[in-house]
Symmetry: D2
Amino acid sequence: MTEEKKIKVTVWNEFVHEQQNEAVKKLYPDGMHKVIADALNLQDDINASTATLEEPEHGLTEEVLAETDVLTWWGHMAHDKVNDEIVDRVQKRVLEGMGLICLHSAHFSKIFRRILGTNCSLKWREVAEKERLWNLEPGHPITQGIGEYIELPNTEMYGERFDIPTPDKLIFVSWFEGGEVFRSGCCWERGHGRIFYFRPGHETYPIFYNDEIIKVITNAVRWAKPRVQITDVCPNTEPLETLSEKNVDFGSAGIVQTAEDIS
Amino acid sequence: MTEEKKIKVTVWNEFVHEQQNEAVKKLYPDGMHKVIADALNLQDDINASTATLEEPEHGLTEEVLAETDVLTWWGHMAHDKVNDEIVDRVQKRVLEGMGLICLHSAHFSKIFRRILGTNCSLKWREVAEKERLWNLEPGHPITQGIGEYIELPNTEMYGERFDIPTPDKLIFVSWFEGGEVFRSGCCWERGHGRIFYFRPGHETYPIFYNDEIIKVITNAVRWAKPRVQITDVCPNTEPLETLSEKNVDFGSAGIVQTAEDIS
Amino acid sequence: MTEEKKIKVTVWNEFVHEQQNEAVKKLYPDGMHKVIADALNLQDDINASTATLEEPEHGLTEEVLAETDVLTWWGHMAHDKVNDEIVDRVQKRVLEGMGLICLHSAHFSKIFRRILGTNCSLKWREVAEKERLWNLEPGHPITQGIGEYIELPNTEMYGERFDIPTPDKLIFVSWFEGGEVFRSGCCWERGHGRIFYFRPGHETYPIFYNDEIIKVITNAVRWAKPRVQITDVCPNTEPLETLSEKNVDFGSAGIVQTAEDIS
Amino acid sequence: MTEEKKIKVTVWNEFVHEQQNEAVKKLYPDGMHKVIADALNLQDDINASTATLEEPEHGLTEEVLAETDVLTWWGHMAHDKVNDEIVDRVQKRVLEGMGLICLHSAHFSKIFRRILGTNCSLKWREVAEKERLWNLEPGHPITQGIGEYIELPNTEMYGERFDIPTPDKLIFVSWFEGGEVFRSGCCWERGHGRIFYFRPGHETYPIFYNDEIIKVITNAVRWAKPRVQITDVCPNTEPLETLSEKNVDFGSAGIVQTAEDIS
C-alpha cells in the first residue's frame, strides 16, 4: 500500500506513570504509546506516530491533527494537565470526521467527557482480578478475528453504572471475578466522526502486549477512519421553492450566528 | 395540588432582543420568559419562575438550581455572555436528574452544545415562511393533545443537517415552505436527566402565544421532570465475590480519580 | 382509585411445567401466573387477571385483549402450541399501544420473536448458580425502589450473545457465577406500544416470590401502560399545499394498499 | 476484481405492474429488476442477478440465497402472493448476515414487516409531485457522492407517520411539494445482517434511471454486504468458572429449547 493511502494514526499518551512508577516503567520502558504504535505499524495499511503530554501543544499541533485519521488516547493521572485549547481542537477534528479511540482510564479524559457530555464515572477496584470481555457483536468490524470472549487474567475492575450516553452499538460487556459487569466496548458517532471506547489497558498489567487487545484496537482504527472531512458551517441559505406572496420578509436582525461566536 | 408537589420550572431567557429591538419589544414587552412562565403557571401541577442573563449569576444560583426540576432555555445574541461556570453548574444538575428544555436558537447555547458534545449547527433563513411540524410519535407524552401536525404561518427556517447526536426519540420533523426539512423535536437522556429540543420560538413572531406550542412545552416539562436526584461519584469498591488465591493485589498507585480532579 | 382507572393487566402463562413437574408444582401449585397476578393485585392502581394456554383462544379473546392495558407473558415448553392467529392479535394490540412484558423463557415465545424480528437466541445452563442483576439506569421508572443490584442465589443462566435488536434502553445487565453476562432488562418501543424483557423467572426457583423481582415487574407494568390506542391505517391523503401547474396527475393505478391485504 | 470476491446481489421484483400496466411496461419493458441489476453490474465489485415472483420458489431457492450477499426487494400489488416459507428463509439469511435493501412500496412487503415487527404503514398520494430527499448523514457510506439533497421532479408521496422501529441511523428525510415529510433512508441491524429502506422507486416514474438513486442503491449494497455468516444456535454451555459448593444442580427438565422447535 502506498504511504499516502495508509491510515494515519496518532497514538497519544500522557506518559507519566511510565516515568514515575518503577513497575510500570519495567513493563513499558518507552511508554505504552510506543508499544501500541509499534503493534499498529506491523499492519500494511496503518502508519502510526506518537504524541505525549510533555511535547509542545501535547504533540497535537494543528498540523499533526490535520494529518491524523484516527487518534487514540490514554491518560490517567494528568487529565487536568491537558490544555483546554487542545481539547477544543481535538473535538473540532472529531466532529469534522477524525476517528477517536479512548482507552481504559481515558474514560475520565477531558476529550472523552467533552465529546459525550456526561460524567463518564464508574466503579473501580485494583486487585488484579480476572476479566472476561464478552463479544456481543461478532458481525461488527471491531470484533473480526475475536472469538466469543477475551480473557484477561489480571486487570483493574471497572463496574457499572458507567455514566455515558447509550452507545450507538454496544460491542463488549465485561464479567469480573469480583462480581461486577461493565460496558467495555462502546461505539458512538458525533458530527462526522466515530468514537470507540475500549476498557482494557491498565498500566500495571501487560495488557497492550496481548494480541487480542491489539487486534481490537487495530480493527477499531479501521472502523474509525474518516469517511469524509467536513468543516462546520451554519449557513444562511436561499429558499429552494418559490414562496407565496403572503410572506413578509422581516429581514434578519443582523445577528451573526456561527459556532465561533460562542466558542 | 400542594405547592411542594408541583413541578418547579425555571424559565431562562437572555432577554436581550426584547430590550433592543422595537418589533420584539412590542410582541414581548416583558420578555418571552414572562409569556412562557405565565402560560405554564396556568397548570395546576406547575410552578414556574424566571431567570435572565443580567441577574447575578444569570439568576441561576446554586440555590435556584437545587430547587429547579426543569429548566427551559432561550438564548440567541448573547450565548457568549453566559459564564462558563454557570454552564458547568447547569450541566452538573442535568446529569443529576434535572430536566432541560432548549428552545429555538438555544440550539447554539453553550449548555446545549456542552451536554450533547456536537456543534449543533444548521441551515437558517428568515423570510417569515410557513412551517408544518409533523408529529412522528402520537403515543409520546410530549405530543399528547397534539394532532398530526402543528402549522405556523410565519417562522424562521432551520434546515438540515442539524449537527446533533442521533436523538433517542425523534418527535417532530418540520416541513418548510422554502423546501427544507428539520428534526424539530428531539429527546435525549444524559446522566439521569432528560433533554428536549424544540425548534419553534423565533423572537419576531408570536410563537409563544400559540396554544399548541405551549401545549408541547407543557408536556415536555412533565416528561422531563426528575425521576431521581443522584450526585455523581466514582467509587473504589470492595469485591462482592471471594477472589481466587492466584490474585495478587498490586495495590492502588495512590491515584485520586474523581471527576472533580479534572473539571 | 376507581376500578376503571386501574391498569388492567393480563398475566399469561402456558401453565404446563406446574402441572407436569412435581418440583415446580410444589413451588407454584396454582401456577406462576397466580403468584404474579396476586402480587400485582396488592397494588392500588393495578387490576390483574390471568390467562393460560389451555383456555379457549388461550384466554386471549378479542374482548380480553381490548380490555388489557399490559400483557405479561411466560412460556417455555409450549411456545409452538400458541396459535399464530393469537400471536397476530397480540402483535396488533401492542402496535396499537398495549404494553407487553416478556418474562424469562418468553425470550423464545412467538410473540417476542415476532415483534422484534430476530431469533432471540442465547446461551443457557441450569446449575442453580448465583446471578447479580446490575441496575444501569437508576433514574428509569422500571428501577425505582431497586438498589445497585438484585441478587438471586440460584438461577438458570442465560448468556450473551442474546440475538435481539439493540434495546432502546438497557436497564439491567446480569453477572453469573459461572462466568457469563446477559442483557437482562431491555426496553423497546414498537408502534405505539412499549415492550420490556426481564430475564429472571425460571420455574424451578422461587423467583416470583422475590420482592425485588415483583417490584421490577410492577414498575414495568406502570411504565408499559398505554399512552394512546391508535388503530393502524395507511391512508391516501390530499395535498396540504397547492401544487404547481407542472404536476400531472397520473392517477392511482387503483391499487388497494393496506396492511390487511398482505397479512 | 476476481469474480468470487465480487458482492453477489440478487435483485428481486414481483414484476407484475410491468406486465399489466402499459405505462409501466413502456418505462420498464424488461422489469425494474433488469434496470437495477444492469446498473449495479456496471460496478467492478458487484455481480447482480435477478429473481421474480413467478419463478419457482420466487427465484429464491436455498441455493440462490446461500450465494446471495445482498438482496434488494421491490413489491407492491402482490405482497400477499409471496410464500411465507420463502419469507422465513429470507429472514433467516438476513439474521445470519445477508444484507437486505427494501425499495419504495416494499415498505409493505412481508419480509420488511417481518424483520422489523411493525406495521410499516404510512400516508400516500399519487399526484406526481416534487420530492427533495435531504441528506442528513454526509459522512455515511450510503451517501458518498451524494450532495446536500436529491431532487425528484415527479414522485408518489409517502408521508409520516411511518410505523417503523426508530432507525439505528436516519440517512434521508424527504420534503414533498404537497406539504409532507418522510424518513426516506433508514438503516437497521438485525441479527448479523444490515437492512436499508430507501423510499424512491415508484413504478410509473423513471426513478431507477436516475443516477443519484442508483448511486445510493450501489452504496447501500456495499454497506449491507455481509461481514460474517453465523448460523443461529441456542447452546447449553458449561460454566467457565468453578462454582461454589452451595450450588445444587436441579438438573435440566429435559426440555429441548431451540428456535426450530417453535418456528
